[in-house]
Assembly symmetry: C2
Homo-oligomer: 438 residues x 2
């Protein structure tokens, strides 16, 4: 892709309400813009990142045997009456009326609709298990939308629902989804922890959250320094006030606190800040019973489905990558999430030799399957400094600078994370990059 | 994919309100189900078809230089106040209120939001043209939702908006989009016509519709039998009553009517029924003026953007393919839109030799990049007849029958459109299919 053909409105202005790096940089670098309170548009670069995350999520879920569907976003209130959630969901579930004054809801989640879909269509234990998911718009009417994509009102969520003949099979799927989620977050290049979120059971497996570690995270979690164990603080501290006050502490403040609890492995537990990007949850037969969704079991008897539910905050992940990966200059995308791997910067695109050399590198990279963007912009304001500023702000993993050193047969490769530059011979640059990326 | 691992709830029951083949068959074959009036869920097979269409649309638009974005579906009413459409859009535009009693709209289209997005971000003629599109949920609160996906309330639409420095450049883009749309509908395997929809101009190019020809189509159009010309009847008949009554006639009734008008090429015009699946429209500066969206022109003077808008009914296309391609047994997908190219039917999956031979064919097809689904179902009800019924109802282009003829080293290939069967040697079946498909 050529820079000059992509709508990338970078800006120096930071929105006044943007406190977090991801909120500031995603807007300044032209990934998103705000449409209204808690409502965001994805601009071309943001859309590419969103689609990359979406497709990794889809690929791993499909590999694990899940089936993708797409439910209507507007759902009749009747569905929510049946489960009782019309009364209990509170104001986050936005109710609307159509022209005939019938009541509907902007889906905040879709347990009821999924149960209704499977009900009467899966009739025997022989047709189980079924795991259906969608990656679709959700709406939650937050009282105070904030932090950009992290706590918006309209957002993109992967929500999955599995149906089983018995608890054992549901447990099997729950574990499979935990492993699948780990694969997804690992592929995305994120530093994350799986965290027990089930205060009921000791070492409980009924509810687990996936947190991206980031100092700016909203949640305080405990992680073991020696093993993989992590826990939601609600599961460790019984006193509600203590939980609230711990959640309000900053990362720096938390580091000064000693943790008296030990991990069951004997290791030291310490406080971290996390962003919840996934949650898997054993539902049992709560919804299937409420909605009378039954199948014939092995003995020919009617039984309500055992269910589990699995969520990933897909648009929230866009921001989470940046909360974990940024510096004072802007975004630093991971290799799996970056819109393009390499920014080929033609220092002065009015100079034919520079533009030609840059274009050739861009074409050669395409040839070997490395995605790149050619910064071919040539207006007066598009100086080398301007282009470097955009590179740092947008955060492609690498830049290749095609500039004055060309007369010595050299270009520069810059690593976005370290900002270290190295001179490379023009003829070696593509193979050098291939080596760096792999 | 294996049939046994995909949620495909086929049924013999036809919904009572389903008058059209696509509505009946898409529900009976397990592609979609109804969530509420004008609200549909896409089940796994339906989601695959929707994504296939979506990706062809995206590919051709990206090739033509358009940039994909994704705007928020819920939009503040303020946007619509600025253009005046808050007052003029009528009840199809559904207004909602959030918990703070602020007014919003479920986007029925997005001219205003796109203009706001480009405003102040594209400042000079040097940054033009820009063509932004999205493939996103829309909502129109139809008084009488009907015909399944053809006239639903929530639907998936591609809406594109282009911004230009002058009318000439807008015209150029308009023509480019006409060509791009033709490529899209051709790739989808559809028999379609581009139709003049601009009653103002003779041979007008300001507004064109793309109609899939289908006897069940809602619109009556005129097409030339000798050239490519087609027209919306509103552009030919001046009397409104005549237009209304022509639109109400069935395809059969229309064939009995003579057309007095001649095509400008001298050819005979005849009536057809069409489903509108695309519309391209020259907007001029109506919205950019209303929203004060200006740029600096070549003379340094402020000027409102010249705009055009381009729509495709993506979810409507799913139904349109079937309106044009079906028989009394069910759907007949085109090669570009089918969820899988081949249905490998294991006649009796309890017989090891049949299951093994079917599985091998399935694996061999995968090897050479032909998508297939293996009907490996083995319950009592899954007879050969049952599986053939599903094949005809779902409408994969080809089936391979692995059954009794296996003892003579033969399998059968069935063409879904003609239902003709041919015996093929087991070892030749993959190459034979490759030949048929290409």
């Amino acid at each position: 892709m050529k820079f000059s053909r992509l709508f990338i409105p970078t800006t120096k202005e930071t929105p006044s309400d943007a406190a977090l790096p991801s909120h500031q940089f995603l807007i300044r670098a032209g990934f998103i813009n705000q449409q209204g309170s808690g409502l965001y548009n994805f601009l071309p670069l943001g859309k590419i990142v969103l689609d990359k995350i979406r497709s990794i999520v889809k690929e791993e879920l499909d590999n694990a045997g899940c089936n993708e569907v797409q439910l209507s976003f507007v759902t009749p209130i009747g569905l929510w009456d049946k489960s009782g959630r019309a009364d209990t969901m509170g104001k986050e579930m936005l109710r609307i009326q159509d022209r005939h004054e019938n009541d509907f809801v902007l889906s905040p989640t879709n347990e009821e609709a999924m149960v209704e879909l499977v009900k009467n269509r899966v009739k025997s234990y022989k047709e189980l298990p079924v795991n259906l998911y969608q990656i679709n718009t959700k709406f939650r009417d937050e009282a105070r939308p904030r932090y950009g994509l992290l706590r918006g009102r309209e957002f993109l969520m992967k929500d999955g629902y599995s149906f089983h003949a018995n608890k054992e099979d549901m447990n099997r799927e729950f574990n499979l989804m935990e492993e699948t989620y780990k694969k997804i977050f690992t592929r995305l290049g994120l530093d994350f922890r799986v965290v027990d979120a089930d205060s009921g059971a000791i070492g409980g497996t009924g509810s687990k959250e996936f947190h991206v570690l980031a100092n700016s995270g909203e949640d305080t979690i405990l992680v073991c320094e020696d093993c993989e164990y992590g826990a939601n603080i609600e599961t460790i501290f019984e006193d509600e006030k203590e939980v609230v006050s711990l959640n309000e502490l900053s990362y720096e403040q938390l580091q000064e606190k000693d943790v008296e609890h030990k991990c069951s492995c004997g290791g030291k537990l310490s406080f971290k800040k996390g962003i919840e990007v996934g949650h898997i949850f054993q539902l049992g037969d709560k919804y299937s019973k409420a909605l009378e969704a039954i199948f014939q079991d092995e003995n020919g008897k009617p039984k309500a489905f055992e269910m589990a539910t699995f969520g990933i905050g897909v648009s929230r992940l866009v921001a989470s990558v940046i909360e974990q990966n940024h510096d004072e200059n802007g975004c630093i995308w991971t290799k799996a999430t970056t819109p393009y791997m390499v920014d080929v910067i033609v220092s002065n695109a009015k100079k034919e030799n520079e533009l030609n050399a840059g274009t050739k590198i861009y074409e050669d990279l395409k040839q070997i399957g490395i995605s790149s963007i050619l910064d071919d912009r040539k207006e007066k304001k598009h100086t080398y400094g301007f282009k470097m500023g955009d590179f740092k702000l947008i955060g492609f993993p690498y830049a290749i600078i095609v500039g004055k050193k060309l007369q010595d047969g050299l270009v520069e490769i810059i690593d976005r994370r370290t900002l270290e530059a190295q001179d490379v011979k023009l003829e070696d640059v593509v193979s050098k990059l291939k080596e760096l990326i792999s």
